[in-house]
Each structure stands twice: as C-alpha cells, then as structure tokens.
Symmetry: C2
Subunit: 357 residues, 2 copies
C-alpha cells in the first residue's frame, strides 16, 4: 500500500530514518562503552524493542508495570522499571514479570524498597538520585543512606544509581552550567559511595537531548534514551538531532478551508497538546508548507494559519505534520505505520498504548 | 470492590453525580423543547450513549466515522457525524454505518457534500456555519448557497444548520457581547433562508459551557453537549456547573515526596496536557488537599507543590484529582470505573478510545 492510501490521521514512521537513528545510537554506545537500555515509552511496540536489543541494547526500560508486561514480548534479557513500584496489584504484576526476565526497579524511598523486598522475589534495584530536575530521586547527600538500606534488605540486589537529566535540554548557556553541576554532583556521590565501599555497578542516566554528551559525564556507564528512535521537534530544538532525523510524522487531511486558514483532521487527540519546550507557539510543523503555523487545536481539529503560504492544499488533500512530542502522540494511536520510500512496509499495533498502571 | 482497591491511575466516575448531570440536561432539553443529540466524544462508551438515549436523547453525535462505528452499539435512532467526511475509506465506513441507522453529516464545503452524494446512500446533511469560533463552518453569508447546493444533490436530505459556539465560555463581559452577536447572526441567517424558502428543520448548536443558555438563542432547536455527562474544571470555570457536579476524577498514588513537593503516578499520558481555559496554571485540582498546586507534568509524573498544605499524604497513599478537561483524559484510559458511595459498580471499556479516523 502507498502511504497516500492510508486513512487519516495516520502516524507514519520513515523506516530509513528510524533505522539510521537506531544505528547511530547503537554505534555511539558501543564506541563509548556505554550500556544501552533504551526507554520504550516512546514507541510502546515490542517489535521495536526487539530491534533495539538486536542492535546491541543490554535491556529495555519502561515506566510502568503494565508497560513491562507488554514489553516482555520483546524478550529482553533485562527489564528496568524506571519508576517506583507501589501498591498491591503492581507488586503482583512485578512478581509475574520477574518470572520471565531479570527485573530492575529504580526507586527513591525506603518505603518503595521495603515493599519490593517483602515481595520475596529477587530484584535488582537502582537508587534514583535527583541531579537537578526536581522530580523523583533522593538528594545527592541522601544516596548513601538509601543505598545502605537497599543493601540490607533481603531479595534486593543493589545495582547502582539512576538519574534523569530532564532539566538539561542542551549544552550551551544555562544548560552548560547545569551540566557542569551535574558532573560535580555525580563525582561527589561516587566518591562518597566509594569511601563507604558501596561502589555502584551501574550508573544509569541519559536522556535523548543530552544523549551524545553522555561520554563526557564521568562515572556514567549506562544510557536510557527513548525519543531517539523517532525524534521530534523538541529533540531538534534541543540540538540532539536535525529535522531530517525526525522519523515520525502524522498524515492528516485538510477538511475545511477559508481565506488564510485551514483545518486538519487531527487535534489534541491525535498530536497531544504538548507545547514546544522552547516556549514557541505551534503544535507541529507542516512539511512542504513553509509559512504555515499550526497555532491552535481542539480535540479533533487542528487550526493552521496559511496566510503566508504561496500555495496551499485543497480540501480533501493531505499534509504531513512533524509533532512537537512524539512519545505522547504515539500513545494516542492504535497503530503506526512503517513506510519506506512511500510504501507501507509495516503496521504495528501500539501494544503499550494506555498502559498507565 | 472498593474504590481504594483500584490500581492507580484509575479514572473513576461518581455515578450519583453522573446520573444527576444526565437528568438535569434531559429535563432542561425537554422543558425547553430542545432536541438533545449528545456528543459522545466525552465518554466514548456505548453503554453511556445508550443511557443518554433512554433519558430522551433523540440521537447521538460523534466526530469521526470510527467513533460512529463504535457508537452503533448504543443503537441510536439517529447518528450525527459532526465533522466533514472526506476520503475513500471514511466514505466506505459511512456506507456501512448508514445501513444500520439514520446518519446525518455536518459539513461546510461543496467538496464534502458532493463526495457524500456520490456515495449513493441516503444521508441527512447539516450545513455548518461559523458563528465566531473560526474553526469549521461557512461564513453566515455563504449559508444559503451551500444549502442550495446540498438541496440539489441526489441522496442528500438537507436537514438544516449546525454550529458550535466554542468561542463563548460564559455569558458575562466579553462573552455576553459574543453571544448577542451570535443571536443576531443566527436571526439574519434564518431570515435569509426563509426568504429563499429554505427553512431548516434542525438548527443544532450548544456546547456544555453555553448549555443552559440554549433556550435564549432564538431559532435554536437542538443541542449537542458532550462534557455535561461528567463535567470538569473547565466546565466549572465557565460557570456551567459547580465543582460538586464534576463526576469524574483520577485516583493516583503518591510515588515520591520531598520537602514541600510530591510526585503522583499520572502525567500527560494520564490527564493530557490540556491547560485551563482561564489561562490559570495547574493540571488538575487535588481533592481534600487545599493549597496544593499540580503545577507540572511529564508523561508519567505529576509534580505537586504541597508547601502550603497543612497535612500531606505519605508515599504510597492515594489522592483524587479533578482534571482540567475530561474528554481528552477519558481518551487516554483503557477503562473507566463507575463508583457509588465508594463501591465500584461498573467497569466500562472506553471502546472509542483512539478512534481517530
């Protein structure tokens, strides 16, 4: 089938670009001797997790236990749940998952560690440290205490540390100073742990925006990028890819048009309402329509200003939109399509879609 | 099962409140002699569409053809697709849907009307007019021409007009002036159509924010509210409901905590990243936690400032969050739960979730 025959809205992935993205990061990780445990929240598709493993990933990462259940189909040797697992049902899910592969959980509280230990199942644990994002993670000074507690709990293997540098979007200006502080903090933490004879086997960090700077962070030996498989406008804004490296886009149809304006058949239920991290306006960039501004959305309608465009599509014609944030967009689609030179080669069900628990 | 046993995040609906919301609007429509054709995009659940029909709805509304296919299970006598239907596959879907019930399509272009006509299936058509939102809909002056064209096309029944007053969020200040203009524009359109002997049988409008003012719009005889079944913070901000009328909330678990701050296990993949229409900050209101501010989200993390709260939940405890915009939140959940006085009475699969085509 040709891509132009897909019913819209359709989320399509350029397979050549995706494969290039995957290979680039696999090569980088191998050359820099970084363990690669990609976050699968971006694609939520076991077949793509499998592809990452075949390219050298040591394991896969998920956020939630229900995502982990889905991703078992990729047969990872190792599955990291980069999220505190709390609550009876989730712990029971964890028990089932741990029967099928080695499971590591990242956590930041004694409560979460104790609950895992009481499950009576052997699990790896990464202590999460907050290196500036202010989300989950203990403060750097509290790392040794939590690591000691984990070491002392039955059934838990203390594997090391995890952090997520989501507060750093690039490596210039303010971000440069943040990255320097992160390096210092991590250095101090590792010194403190070493003094206590608590040497972490794994120091896991890395986000897509900071991906290719990972080797400059001393002590870091694992990365967990997610978005890099597809990339998006936010990745490009962070300087972590070029626009030509954005593999995923959404094909939509022009359903209505008036002077200087058109409506496309996708809105917040198709793209998500995530803004650009730069703070700039716009919900996506329309390929081949320079001057257009996708400035507003309702649930099923995208509003595009075409007042500055030389030629514009007619009602019923299609356009292709690069989304701001591909991870949340994929999660809105039942299936996505892999396309090579215009031909639909693959149809993938987004098996992890809506796996929130 | 008690609501406290649900795995989080869980979207729960208070059945007493939902039933009161449904009854209030059914009564209003009956008393004001307004035809009620509720938009099912809010719940996307056939059983709830059925309930709306049993309470007197003359039919149901959907946005997309795939949503229509799902909503056939509610056995509506009449199904309005309030969206231009363009493209081969969608027209074929329409053919199948029209075999099972009477279908009406709202449209705003001759292109869309002609494509419908060529399908060779008897369909109702509403001409959509833009009364100020600037989305779909022809300009008021262009209504007679498009109505004439529809009347002239085989297989199409011209049923009348549709509009969506989404630009009016209330009835005070600036909104009062917008509503007055809408009334004048509609009055003029109806006069023009009458002069041309094109009297519309149906004049369909109404959004949830403007719902209870529908009877003050002369000529309007049908309403299509969607959100009213659950309501949300945006509906309350518009003055169309009280906070006590918000039936749906999302139960989440506190997964991490530090001084003045906590993280809940739901973010943009659980709530959507829709902002408040008032422009105020915040992604939801946490019940029973006055002073808390749900100020930031990542995909699976909600950031809550609790610096001004007197008591705060511990790690592992749950809180209940009223979302900004329930329609996009429901679309992110595989299932939602109907709860009465703490007991889970119903589990509904969101059958229309992700039906974007």
């Amino acid at each position: 089938m040709h891509v132009s025959e897909l019913e819209t809205p359709a989320l399509v992935v350029d397979l050549d670009i995706m494969e290039r993205n995957l290979a680039r990061v696999a090569t980088y990780a191998r050359e820099r001797r970084l363990r690669l445990r990609p976050h699968t929240k971006t694609h939520k598709i076991p077949a793509l997790g499998r592809k990452q493993i075949e390219l050298g990933a040591a394991g896969l990462t998920v956020a939630k236990t229900t995502e982990a259940e889905v991703m078992l189909e990729a047969e990872p040797a190792d599955l990291l749940i980069a999220y505190p697992v709390l609550g009876r049902q989730k712990l029971e899910r964890l028990r089932g998952i741990a029967k099928r592969t080695r499971v590591t959980v990242a956590l930041d509280s004694f409560e979460a560690a104790r609950a895992l230990s009481e499950l009576g199942v052997d699990l790896g644990v990464l202590v999460e440290v907050d290196l500036g994002l202010g989300r989950t993670g203990v403060a750097p000074r509290d790392v040794p205490a939590l690591a000691q507690e984990v070491v002392g709990l039955p059934h838990l293997d203390w594997d090391g540390l995890a952090f997520y540098p989501g507060h750093i979007k690039g490596t210039t200006g303010e971000d440069e100073a943040k990255l320097a502080k992160l390096r210092r903090d991590l250095h101090d933490i590792l010194n403190n742990l070493t003094a206590l004879r608590l040497v972490p086997r794994i120091v896991s960090g890395g986000s897509t925006p900071l991906l290719f700077h990972s080797h400059t962070i001393e002590g870091l030996n694992e990365i967990r990028p997610g978005t890099y498989i597809f990339n998006d406008l936010n990745t490009a804004a962070a300087g972590a890819c070029a626009l030509e490296d954005c593999a995923a886009s959404i094909v939509v149809t022009v359903v209505s048009k008036r002077e200087g304006h058109m409506i496309i058949d996708g809105g917040s239920k198709t793209f998500s309402s995530d803004r650009l991290v730069t703070g700039e306006a716009g919900f996506g960039q329309i390929a081949g329509l320079p001057g257009s501004v996708f400035h507003k959305m309702n649930e099923e309608h995208g509003y595009v200003d075409i007042g500055n465009c030389r030629t514009t599509p007619a009602i019923g014609e299609r356009v292709q939109v690069l989304p701001n944030h591909i991870c949340v967009a994929v999660n809105l689609h039942e299936r996505i399509y892999g396309v090579r030179q215009g031909t639909v080669e693959q149809t993938w069900t987004v098996a992890g879609r809506g796996k929130l628990q």
